[in-house]
């Protein structure tokens, strides 16, 4: 189909590209500048603004790891995001599959009730949750960060919508062959749901990696901090070190950006299926 069938005349094409280019510049310039400034020698980014470094240096990245211990924060973030992703995948896929395919009394009512919880902002639960974790001596521990992310209503919803399409005959045949429910889950449901599980894994990993408020609250000591929290603290102390802070920003953003670029299709599909069916 040509442009004109969607309502734009051929003559409008240059305008179209101008708009696209403008929007692309808006979206990309801050990120390009972030990368570029992180490679500039100290003091260059605060001189007259320019987009490309005169000489490329990695000294700021070295400083992040040697002097500022951001390696530790990066490791913390990686471990926390990985743990939350693994646990929540298991918990949410079991529940999502059950809500789709395993009949039990009160299932539909329970599901609708649970969906209602999506309107409640997470902040409402944070104060008592902090007090609860304090009683359990989980404040300033990795488990304290992980706990609220282990099950997610949205995750269950996402898996359920996908699992609805599992052919009932497939499950029945396995039961007749004498397969146990866990076996069916593992050898039929998980392979069938792999695309949505990849989507959920990306969402969860990125969400945990990028999260700020909860780790800020629950991780009170320096040694346990995640990258975003450590970066926010550094940004307060090193206001003048632009190049250094940009290196820190690149380090924080890079893993999620790479993950997104590699698995873009799953990520976008997840948003679309979560919204169209929601």
């Amino acid at each position: 189909m040509s442009a004109s069938t969607r309502g734009y005349g051929g003559a409008a094409a240059p305008l179209l590209y101008a708009a696209l280019a403008g929007l692309a510049a808006f979206a990309m310039l801050p990120l390009v500048w972030m990368v570029s400034a992180s490679l500039m020698p100290t003091g260059e980014a605060t001189a007259a603004p320019h987009l490309l470094p005169s000489t490329v240096t990695l000294e700021h990245y070295r400083t992040l790891f040697t002097r500022l211990h951001l390696a530790r924060a990066a490791l913390n973030s990686t471990m926390l995001a990985t743990a939350v992703t693994a646990i929540s995948l298991l918990v949410n896929s079991l529940a999502g599959y059950a809500f789709a395919k395993l009949p039990f009394s009160g299932r539909e009512r329970l599901f609708r009730f649970m969906l209602g919880g999506l309107v409640i902002p997470a902040q409402v639960a944070m104060l008592p949750l902090f007090l609860l974790l304090r009683e359990l001596h989980l404040v300033n521990t990795p488990l304290g960060v992980i706990v609220p992310g282990m099950a997610s209503i949205f995750g269950i919803f996402l898996v359920r919508q996908y699992a609805l399409a599992i052919p009932q005959s497939l499950l029945d045949a396995a039961r007749i062959d004498g397969a146990g429910e866990l076996r069916i889950y593992w050898s039929i449901v998980v392979p069938f749901c792999t695309p949505v599980l990849v989507t959920l894994a990306i969402f969860t990993f990125m969400g945990t990696w990028n999260d700020f408020l909860w780790p800020l609250i629950v991780l009170t000591g320096d040694a346990r901090q995640t990258l975003p929290v450590a970066l926010a603290n550094l940004a307060g102390e090193h206001v003048q070190d632009v190049e250094l802070m940009m290196a820190g920003a690149v380090l924080t953003v890079l893993p999620v950006v790479v993950m997104f670029l590699a698995l873009q299709r799953y990520y976008i599909e997840g948003i679309v299926s979560g919204s169209v069916k929601g």
């Binding site: 734009y8 590209y17 007259a48 603004p49 104060l127 609250i217 970066l231 873009q264």
Partner: protein, 295 residues
């Protein structure tokens, strides 16, 4: 294990976790908001008293609460439509089949969405720098004098809004693209047969059929934007002179800096109530729209 019991067994871990770490805290939060829980109660529960709706009453007389509410509402009302509008424009552009490299443009527009908010807030803090920031440099080129974006109470909130629009427009774009794709091509053909030009097609086919997508986007954007926190926390600490203090930031300060947790819980519930009411209103629009469409 029979599959009837299996159903309960499979949902049990998720339900238990949600119950203990979400439902119970939400209910406890409501109770907490009726107490004078503060730093002394953190030390010993004996210092805890029930005070009824006292926290809510005090909130309504707290100038800082009204400032935070006003700032948050301003942010939602301005940044919301701006980012949704830009999302729609971007979606129309990348949906146009005549455009080459559509996937590349879509990826570029989406990239800010996946970045870590704290990290890009640090980046934007320098973009807004009055002396060497890129923005003032660009504005200087067209003769607009240097603006102290984050240091001037008049410009701090607009600066945060611009950054939020940049960060978020790609998300709704993806949803709009899906909405546009779901419009059957034959409707455009029929419209053209009836002599509709491109703007008439947009007005009478695209917009009405995007209405459900619009409402959905409106709800999630509103819910997200009411929770404004990391941008002011990193870029302005709520200043200058409270110009960017948001409701969640005030809740954080009250609850976790000043340990007035009863008060902070009341604040959290007011935030929840606002979001709930606005969501319900929008949902009503949706059902009314649906009813019209089917009659």
């Amino acid at each position: 294990m029979r599959h009837r019991e299996a159903g309960w067994a499979f949902v049990a871990p998720a339900l238990a976790l949600i119950l203990v770490f979400f439902v119970v805290p939400v209910v406890a939060s409501l109770l907490l908001s009726l107490t004078d829980f503060d730093i002394y109660a953190v030390a010993s529960r004996e210092n805890l008293r029930l005070v009824g709706v006292e926290n809510y009453r005090r909130l309504l007389h707290d100038p800082l609460f009204w400032v935070a509410l006003r700032n948050t509402a301003l942010f939602v009302v301005v940044a919301g439509p701006l980012s949704i509008g830009l999302s729609l424009v971007a979606a129309l552009l990348v949906s146009d089949r005549a455009v080459r490299l559509r996937a590349l443009f879509r990826t570029m527009f989406f990239l800010p969405v996946v970045t870590t908010l704290v990290a890009v807030a640090v980046v934007w803090r320098y973009i807004y720098h009055p002396r060497f920031g890129l923005l003032n440099y660009a504005l200087g080129a067209v003769g607009i004098g240097p603006i102290d974006w984050l240091g001037d109470p008049r410009f701090a909130m607009p600066a945060i809004i611009l950054m939020a629009v940049w960060k978020n427009f790609g998300f709704n774009m993806v949803i709009f693209v899906a909405g546009l794709q779901s419009i059957p091509e034959r409707l455009y053909e029929a419209a053209r047969v009836d002599g509709a030009g491109s703007s008439a097609q947009f007005r009478w086919v695209t917009l009405p059929l995007l209405a459900p997508t619009f409402l959905f986007v409106l709800v999630i954007t509103m819910i997200g934007y009411f929770q404004l926190f990391a941008e002011p926390y990193v870029m302005t600490q709520g200043g200058p002179s409270h110009a960017t203090l948001s409701l969640v930031m005030l809740m954080y300060l009250q609850g976790f800096r000043w340990w007035t947790m009863g008060y902070a819980a009341a604040l959290a519930f007011i935030l929840f109530a606002i979001i709930l009411v606005l969501t319900l209103i929008t949902m009503r629009l949706r059902t009314r729209d649906g009813a019209e469409a089917t009659t």
